[in-house]
Amino acid sequence: MSDAPATGTQSITSGAQAGVAARRNDVRNRWLLASPALTIIVFAALGPLLIMLVYSFLQKGLYGGVIWKFSTQGWFDVFFHKDIFDDTVGFADAHLSIFWRSIRLSFATTILTLLIGFPTAYFIATKSEKWRPVFLFLVTIPFWTNLLIRTFAIMELIKNEGVVNSVLQWAGLITSPIQIMFTDFAIMLGMAYVYLPLMVLPLYASMERLDFRLVEAGYDLYATRWQVLRKIIIPLVKPGMIAGSILVFVPSLGAYVTPRILGGGKNLMLGNLIELQFGQGRNWPLGAALSITLLVIVMVALLFYVRNASRSGVKSHG
């Protein structure tokens, strides 16, 4: 034992060194393996965002594009408006009202999908194990089908000569068609329709793990169904409710296709306002600044979600 340690430690250290070297090698290989995917994403997703940030600080070109001179005009234009006659500066009401509409409609969409999605997810989660995948599949299918087509389908339903108005007129409930298309309501309805699966899926994921013994205990203590729902089920599935809300809120805020089709030219949302700057508006720096503003709002929402998710993760472990 007394003379063994010398050689023993030596072999251990060399072994440890070999281990460290192998590990370093492994990590290097892993980076190499990931590099093609990273290259594509940096080239066609992340990198362009940085270039856009630069563009938001340049002067606008006369016919679109930019002039390579530093300017904060793009950012100024996001929030403020300078009168062309007397140079007075005021808030850019047009932009702010579009911001406000986007937030309002996204919020309303989130609430509507939550009201429909919650009972639906609960319904699926309380079915037998044989039926759950079937219902889940039924929710997922629309999610994977074309958003444009689904928006288009909603349009067929609600337009003046569409199915809803025809049926109502045929039934004699109304004499002239109700104007639903090209209103804020139409946009909200369309977004709720296309993003509904995004609400149901995370809600279902948290309800599937719901411990019904707790629900049973509630009833044993003479709770009513409403009390059980409010005091037991909702607190337990809250992480799913928040996840679903973020998943609906974020794409609603950046929606482009749905408001373009259902809102017509008048009821713009942020996505359409951004597009306008690259089209007729010919104000690329303003468009870039608006995009980054939208991105920041979305990132704040996602951070809120990540914080909430990690906190609830800790809670479930503890």
Partner: protein, 274 residues
């Protein structure tokens, strides 16, 4: 009292009043618009509200429309290329980020790969418009490569997630056994790892294909002249008078998506059992 209870439904702790009804409404709401659209694609008349009998008329019209055929070919070229590229690089990335102790930068790789899921599409679309405009001016190249690159990028996370899920369910014992039997690392990968991962890779490639095929926003902003895909062609048509031809094209696209996603479900469920 006993009679009273017997008359009612047995008390179920899982039941909540009205939830089943709302769920039923939800499923009707999800499917009714799509089904109406599909039904009217077979309408003989050109109205969208009045049924005038069954016919293939609008499918024939779409089939004979040169623009529709061109757009379909463009869509397929882009979707096949993007799905192939995305599933290839996503397979490598999944191998790089699973079955190991966390290492420096692993979270960063993971975040970068999933980045396209977090940024609103319209933001990516205008960023790409700006970036590709610079390249187009400097190189003069106008081809499909821009669209393929853009589609590959946002398809990567969709390909990556099922492949990663598949890999996480595989332990390293079979690869170790192969190494014990003097297989080279490449042989172990080629004959052990790859066949086991294959359902995940197929699933990933299918999702990527569907996602690419359905994309509107990014394509609309990145495309050069004459590069309409089916969705952007349809979006362009919506500005004008809508003919039921669009219904027919939609139905075909829907059928493709549903078929591919169904196969995906079968594949991923089989993968779960293995």
């Amino acid at each position: 009292m006993a009679d009273d209870v017997a008359g009612k439904r047995p008390f179920s702790i899982k039941r909540q009043p009205g939830f089943g009804f709302i769920a039923a409404c939800c499923f009707v709401m999800l499917y009714a618009p799509i089904l109406i659209l599909v039904a009217y694609s077979f309408n003989a008349g050109s109205s969208i509200a009045i049924w005038e009998g069954f016919s293939w008329r609008w499918y024939e019209a779409a089939w004979q429309n040169r623009q529709v055929i061109d757009a379909s070919v463009t869509s397929l070229k882009i979707a096949v290329s993007a799905a192939a590229i995305a599933s290839c690089v996503a397979t490598m990335a999944a191998l790089a980020t699973t079955r190991t102790e966390p290492y420096r930068g692993m979270t960063a790789i993971y975040a970068a790969i999933n980045q396209p899921l977090m940024v609103p599409e319209i933001v990516t679309a205008v960023a790409l418009l700006i970036f590709f405009a610079i390249i187009k001016v400097n190189t003069g190249y106008q081809g499909l490569a821009y669209l393929i690159a853009a589609h590959s990028a946002f398809c990567i996370p969709f390909a990556y997630l099922p492949i990663r899920a598949r890999l996480e369910n595989m332990d390293l014992s079979l690869e170790r056994a192969a190494a014990d039997l003097y297989a080279s690392p490449w042989q172990a990968f080629r004959y052990v790892t790859l066949p086991l991962m294959l359902p995940g890779i197929m699933a990933g490639a299918m999702l990527a294909f569907v996602i690419s095929l359905d994309d509107v926003v990014i394509t609309e902003f990145v495309k050069s002249g004459g590069q309409d895909t089916l969705p952007t062609y349809m979006l362009g048509q919506l500005r004008r008078i809508i003919s039921p031809e669009i219904n027919a094209i939609s139905t075909v696209l829907l059928a493709i998506s549903v078929a591919v996603v169904s196969v995906f479900f079968v594949l991923s469920r089989k993968g779960g059992k293995a």
